[in-house]
Symmetry: C2
Subunit: 321 residues, 2 copies
């Protein structure tokens, strides 16, 4: 499977087989009080319970275990510093190969600790995109490691599509499946699974108003870069890639925007009502529904809760109020 | 079933049948990183996912649906203001009868809102035990309602025992089953189920050091009242009742104590690693294990996570650090 070509639904199926020994089959939860708030039947696919606390493990794991033996032994590398870096580190450790993670020296200690905890080798650099790319190039020159991009990679996209595959296996007759959208890996993988397995089901992503580059990209028919995004959703700051953009357009996925206020409200509702921890980026979908950005009255809506990695010392609501 | 006589294991089985249409069969979750911290295999019974967010719904529901038709029509009453009040309100609503909840006028708005949200009728009183009891007596005189005590009630204890019953059905070969202990309803119900179904399994409760009246009661062989308890575990402030104390002694349940610092650490670990929300009272068991209060190296340990009702605006760890 070439990493630059759109993955097929068969690739998603192969990814599901490949990652099965390593990834959790996450549960689908429901919540009657959230259903009542939205006026729909909501089915939450809990990727916050996935290994490393995010769906990202699916794509990273599929990519790492897709490598040939010789290629694998030289290791993998990335300059992401979020959930993808942690996911790649764990997937590499499970295969017994090194993962090199280029991170800006200004990155937070908690993020470095997560990557190191999963066995990733951290290479610090100056906090500019040029420095990150130059440092990554050095790492590759030194080690021969394979770069695994967080979303512009067919193996990663196919892996992310396995979450929707499982959701559709567990819940029949969904009218809509929703995901967040940042770089578009989860959305494009989801679109492949849903359009293949359940063509009548709409695929709708939610995106923060302050980082609405994907929304505008679909409107304008070209990739609009994410410039100075302002949102509490730290996992949704990136722009679409050519591969994810093409899949999203061809599979007719839709995008709605949502305010940060609604995201925080939705996040808090999920913690309070469902008693589960999700990160702000995972709350954009419910936030959009609470804000009425997508009419779903009476519908059956699948929602992929993308992750649960939150710094519990920096919650987006006031304390002691 | 008399409410003042020790319930049998058959009573627990009958309770399980009675509450089945209304209560959740909660999942049992595991977490490899918490296992590694403790050096044991931990099986978490997630009563934070129970209706009203706590195991208390089991006992309240069993009590409410045990009432005869005529008795039930006069309603139920309590002067608890925590999870039991919410649980009793919901159980009563499900049966279509009134629940009268006497609460001190100083009780927090969030607690009142919870009770009212489940349909309970709140009767405010002065914040003294005498006023609460007098007001409850007035309510009973006015309405003929049946008082459902939060733990000194065989129907409630039998209901609480259904959590351990499910845990033992789902997980075989447990060496230990752990619960928190406040008034002893959950602990005594658990002891009935475990000693009946799996006699080789130890039953061990954890109690905050600053509210260790149950620990001292077992040591001294008499009920030591809880006087001025100091702990973050607001669900564990009460003393044992005669009924729960007798069951706990006869069934040879053990009690270990735990510091509040370990409770908070354990609570945070569960949120961070398992991505689920539990309240401080539910974290005493894992806290005790983290603190080495019970040697469990290599053992299989069932832990009943008692509830997940937390005020998200008042978390017991610092923010923006």
């Amino acid at each position: 499977m070439s990493r630059d070509v759109q993955p097929s639904f068969a690739d998603v199926g192969a990814a599901a087989e490949r990652i099965r020994p390593f990834a959790h089959r996450t549960p689908v939860l429901t919540c009657s009080s959230l259903d009542a708030m939205v006026g729909a039947s909501l089915f939450f696919k809990c990727e916050n319970f996935q290994k490393v606390g995010a769906f990202k493990f699916r794509g990273a794991c599929n990519a790492v275990f897709s490598l040939g033996e010789e290629e694998a032994q030289r290791g993998v590398a990335t300059h992401s510093s979020g959930n993808h870096a942690a996911a790649l580190s764990l997937a590499a450790r499970l295969r017994g190969i090194p993962a090199h993670v280029v991170m800006p020296r200004t990155s937070r200690a908690v993020k470095r600790a997560a990557v190191a905890g999963y066995g990733g080798r951290i290479v610090l650099c100056e906090p500019t995109l040029a420095a990150r790319e130059a440092t990554l190039a050095e790492v590759i020159a030194d080690t021969g490691a394979t770069v695994i991009h967080p979303y512009t990679d067919a193996r990663v996209i196919a892996g992310q599509g396995t979450a929707a595959l499982e959701l559709l296996e567990d819940v029949r007759g969904l009218d809509v499946v929703m995901t967040p959208v940042g770089g578009g890996g989860l959305l494009s993988g989801t679109a492949i699974s849903v359009t293949s397995l359940s063509p009548a089901t709409r695929v709708v992503a939610a995106e923060p108003e302050g980082a609405d580059d994907a929304f505008r990209s679909l409107q304008e028919g070209r990739i609009v870069p994410s410039v100075n995004p302002q949102t509490v959703c730290d996992g949704l700051l990136t722009s679409l890639g050519t591969l994810t953009f093409a899949i999203i357009r061809e599979r007719l996925a839709e995008i709605v925007t949502v305010s940060d206020a609604a995201v925080i409200r939705a996040m808090r509702h999920v913690w309070e009502r469902m008693k589960i921890v999700i990160e702000p980026s995972a709350a954009v979908t419910l936030g959009a529904l609470l804000e009425g950005r997508l009419p779903v009255s009476g519908l059956r809506v699948g929602i992929i809760l993308s992750g649960g990695n939150v710094d519990l010392s920096e919650l987006p609501w006031g304390q002691n109020q």
